[in-house]
């Protein structure tokens, strides 16, 4: 019972990590870059959402529907202004650029919002729970998991069945060849980053509701996203989802063993996957 509960908690936690990981998998898949500001953008969006709720009184769903387009706009701008200049065969320029941007963003957030921890009121949603057999599960984590599943399925469908999805997969396979058949790589990239950061609008809303956020929290979210993506296999959408689940379950079970061991258990599983199957669980060897 103890363990089943742990696994259920882990899957629910994985739902949040999946929302972090999807965008990272998408960006890595098409541009082969790791955006170090990924976690800081979650925090930035969360803080914007909290301030918005404070000033206007809109509820969590109003915050969510605002943060998704705001995130998409930030992503598009980030790509056009910064990442399109540093994307290329060499992964170092984009790492350096986004690393610098991450530090600048954290400092800017500190100036605007101070180091206080804040959270978003969910109007009682945080406390609500439902009884499934012998288990009590929170309503909010279930909503998070459903959103994560729908987002993953939706993104997968976009990649498979739409004109944009095909152009993105073509650009991932061979960006020069894609340009040779008329695809504009920079536009594909800008849309990919817009989608990636738009999805972070979901992650930011839920993160701010289920716990607290402060300007320096970004790197933790970055690590979870990164670990989920590596465990699942770089560049695959359902791989990232599964990686997030594995990470969530590892942490939850670790936490059951010893409350201090939870986060570490996640890192250990990540390192084990890296050692045994460095291409990730879902990726075939190329």
């Amino acid at each position: 019972m103890h363990w089943i509960e742990g696994i259920v908690q882990g899957v629910l936690l994985g739902g949040l990590y999946a929302q972090y990981a999807l965008g990272m998998a998408l960006m890595f898949g098409v541009m082969k870059i790791v955006n170090v500001t990924h976690g800081d953008l979650v925090i930035l969006l969360a803080l914007i959402g909290i301030s918005l709720a404070d000033f206007t009184g809109i509820g969590p769903w109003g915050v969510l529907t605002t943060l998704v387009p705001v995130g998409a706009a930030i992503g598009w701008l980030l790509q056009r202004a910064v990442l399109n200049r540093v994307v290329g065969n060499d992964p170092l320029p984009s790492l350096i650029a986004t690393f610098g941007l991450s530090i600048a963003l954290q400092n800017a957030m500190l100036v605007v919002w101070s180091a206080d921890t804040r959270s978003l009121s969910g109007g009682g949603l945080q406390q609500a729970s439902i009884e499934i057999g012998p288990l009590f599960v929170g309503v909010l984590p279930v909503i998070v998991l459903i959103c994560a599943t729908v987002l993953t399925g939706g993104l997968d469908a976009v990649l498979r069945f739409t004109r944009y999805g095909r152009s993105l997969r073509a650009a991932s396979a061979d960006v020069e060849a894609a340009a040779m058949v008329g695809v504009n790589p920079k536009a594909v990239y800008a849309a990919a980053t817009a989608i990636a950061v738009g999805i972070l609008g979901f992650a930011a809303t839920f993160q701010a509701m289920r716990s607290t956020v402060a300007p320096a929290d970004g790197p933790f979210q970055l690590i979870y996203a990164f670990e989920a993506v590596i465990i699942g296999g770089l560049g695959s959408v359902w791989g990232a989802f599964t990686g997030a689940m594995i990470l969530g379950i590892s942490q939850a079970i670790g936490f059951r063993i010893n409350p201090g061991f939870g986060i570490l258990a996640g890192h250990i599983v990540f390192l084990a996957v890296l050692a045994i199957r460095p291409q990730g669980i879902f990726q075939r060897k190329s």
């Binding site: 040779m180 058949v181 504009n184």
Partner: protein, 241 residues
């Protein structure tokens, strides 16, 4: 008749190394032009420079007489220039149909009868059977057919083909070359980079020979003699032996 595509003193570099030293080259609508030359002569570089894959000065490439040098590749496609690149460069992980679809979804506005997936399948019936197959599972010849199909679906007015016979069985080469007249029949010009000089001569109306980044011979394919070609191909010193 205005020249469709031309280059004017075209120079191109890889870093510090200049690979093309002033190429003057032209294609008329519906014409088939062959481009021959030894390994490293600069044939692929010329196509890349035209396509906007290498930085070149704007006046050095003209389309319909208008300067377009250095335009981005996807802009060149939209203006009616497409390429079947060296090494095929298909989109791995995607099916035959998807490879073709990406091209048709980003094509230039067609002039005259548009190329459709069905017309490409009529040219190469085997591709219809393999439509759902990931391209990495095709034979080399079939991959080349997909690459040509992709080029056609860009609805080009001029199609640049880089060594489409390379590594293929003679029967497959014949199969591919046999469909080329159907391409030019509707006014599409072809530039054929070809290692097989005899094949290049037979398939084209005009021919250019490159040597070390310079044009060493240009003329009507049917008028050029074997000796002229070998002199141009290897350089004058070799022709004297």
């Amino acid at each position: 008749m205005t020249t469709l595509l031309s280059t004017h003193g075209l120079q191109a570099e890889y870093g510090d190394m200049r690979a093309l030293h002033g190429i003057d080259f032209a294609v008329e609508p519906g014409e088939t032009v062959a481009l021959i030359g030894a390994n490293g002569a600069g044939k692929s570089t010329l196509l890349s420079a035209i396509m906007g894959l290498l930085p070149v000065a704007v006046e050095m490439v003209k389309l319909d007489g208008k300067p377009v040098g250095g335009s981005l590749p996807h802009r060149m496609v939209q203006s009616g220039v497409a390429i079947v690149p060296e090494g095929r460069r298909l989109f791995a992980g995607m099916t035959v149909e998807e490879n073709l679809q990406v091209a048709s979804e980003h094509a230039a506005a067609p002039r005259g009868t548009a190329w459709t997936k069905e017309r490409v399948y009529d040219l190469f019936p085997i591709l219809r059977e393999k439509a759902r197959t990931p391209v990495e599972n095709l034979s080399g010849g079939q991959q080349q057919m997909v690459s040509i199909g992709r080029g056609l679906l860009a609805q080009p007015r001029v199609l640049l083909c880089d060594e489409i016979s390379l590594g293929l069985a003679p029967r497959v080469v014949r199969e591919i070359y046999d469909v080329l007249p159907q391409v030019t029949a509707q006014g599409t010009a072809l530039v054929l980079v070809e290692q097989d000089v005899g094949l290049a001569q037979r398939a084209s109306q005009r021919l250019y020979c490159l040597l070390e980044g310079r044009v060493t011979l240009e003329g009507k394919s049917s008028d050029i003699s074997r000796d002229d070609i070998s002199a141009a191909y290897f350089g004058a010193s070799h022709a004297l032996d």
